[in-house]
């Protein structure tokens, strides 16, 4: 994503000029988008009176979302413990889920899923029943990802704008994980 793909060719009095798709998305059309992009989490400037109520509502949504990510992490860990052969495939997805948890304000979880740390019988406490069949285990994990994504999609309806954007992105990531898990061949 370093260069600017799919630019629009535009001609004007000063001669041909190329305008980027990103410019369309964030610059010419939406200066607000660029501002937000540069400023990161500066949302809701001057939101006014109901901002307190919304802030605490957001806090609830945030911690619920973090809990969802932590539950998914536990599911990944349990799956990796039961099926160490899946570790290579699952670890990249697990680390993305860990970053989701952090984005929702959860403290960085321990990297307990490293295959060397998960000896038979001495792994982390199982909170999830993992099917013994590897393919079924992947399907179960895909289902968990999809359900969590659905919950986030529901939650973003009432969230403040910036949190809604984060929830939508993480839900999309979860749906993509579900796709990868369901498609992967064991």
């Amino acid at each position: 994503m370093r260069n600017v793909p799919l630019t629009r060719t535009a001609s004007g009095p000063t001669g041909p000029r190329r305008r980027s798709l990103l410019a369309l998305a964030g610059g010419s059309v939406g200066a607000a988008g660029v501002g937000a992009l540069l400023a990161g989490c500066t949302d809701g400037a001057g939101d006014g009176a109901d901002s307190d109520g919304r802030a605490s509502a957001d806090e609830r949504v945030r911690s619920e979302a973090a809990r969802g990510s932590l539950a998914l992490l536990a599911h990944y860990d349990a799956t990796i413990t039961t099926h160490p052969a899946l570790a290579n495939r699952l670890c990249p997805l697990r680390s993305e889920v860990a970053r989701h948890a952090e984005a929702f304000g959860s403290p960085p979880p321990s990297a307990s899923a490293s295959p060397s740390a998960t000896h038979e019988g001495s792994g982390p406490r199982r909170t999830v029943e993992v099917p013994r069949d590897a393919r079924k285990a992947l399907t179960a994990l895909a289902t968990a990802e999809r359900r969590t994504a659905d919950a986030r999609t529901t939650a973003l309806a009432t969230a403040s704008p910036e949190l809604a954007r984060l929830l939508a992105s993480v839900a999309a990531s979860g749906a993509a994980h579900a796709y990868l898990l369901a498609e992967s061949r064991t």
Partner: protein
């Protein structure tokens, strides 16, 4: 779909309408105090991106291997539907929908199937970004639609690329894509 690729060659020299200016104009008509203005802008941006996606998928369809042609067609159909829905959304916001450009410069040469798949992945990744912004700007049903579109684009991006992204559409959280880079991208293209 290979005819669309040939059409691209023909259109490559044609000048496009600067629909970004049209978007600004129609946004201005709403007045700067209208709460709907950021929503309109973000909706127009998503529409412009879907126009580009429809064009880009035409190129993809002309180069992709037969085995993945159904996937390309599926993508094209989905993006046409999103484009049409966004045009309706812009009108509902009392805006004039931005039009498609006659041609779009591609981010890289697309001589073969591998490049076509890469282009499709790139198109979807960029759509994630505009839909994430639309989620932020919109409320209610429009926000839900934008979130659904973001989700679909993210899944399609993963299908084309084979690997996932931690925060689809959130360029400021993407490693290696500092805001300053994004800002210079915006200033002018290529």
């Amino acid at each position: 779909m290979s005819h669309m690729s040939r059409a691209r060659q023909r259109m490559a020299n044609a000048g496009g309408v600067d629909s970004a200016k049209a978007a600004e104009g129609s946004a201005r008509e709403q007045g700067h105090d209208t709460p709907a203005e950021p929503t309109l802008r973000a909706t127009q941006a998503a529409l412009a991106a879907e126009h580009a996606a429809v064009y880009g998928y035409g190129v993809v369809g002309g180069r992709i291997e037969d085995q993945r042609l159904p996937e390309a067609r599926e993508g094209l159909t989905a993006h046409r539907a999103r484009r049409d829905a966004l045009e309706r959304a812009v009108r509902a916001l009392r805006g004039e929908p931005v039009s498609s450009a006659a041609a779009y410069a591609l981010p890289f040469p697309v001589p073969d199937a591998a490049a076509a798949a890469r282009l499709a992945g790139e198109i979807e990744a960029r759509l994630c970004s505009v839909y994430a912004d639309l989620v932020r700007s919109a409320e209610g049903g429009a926000r839900r639609e934008a979130a659904a579109a973001l989700r679909e684009a993210a899944v399609r991006a993963v299908r084309w690329r084979g690997s996932s992204v931690t925060f689809p559409g959130l360029t400021e959280r993407t490693a290696g894509s500092a805001p300053s880079t994004a800002a210079s991208d915006v200033a002018d293209a290529l």
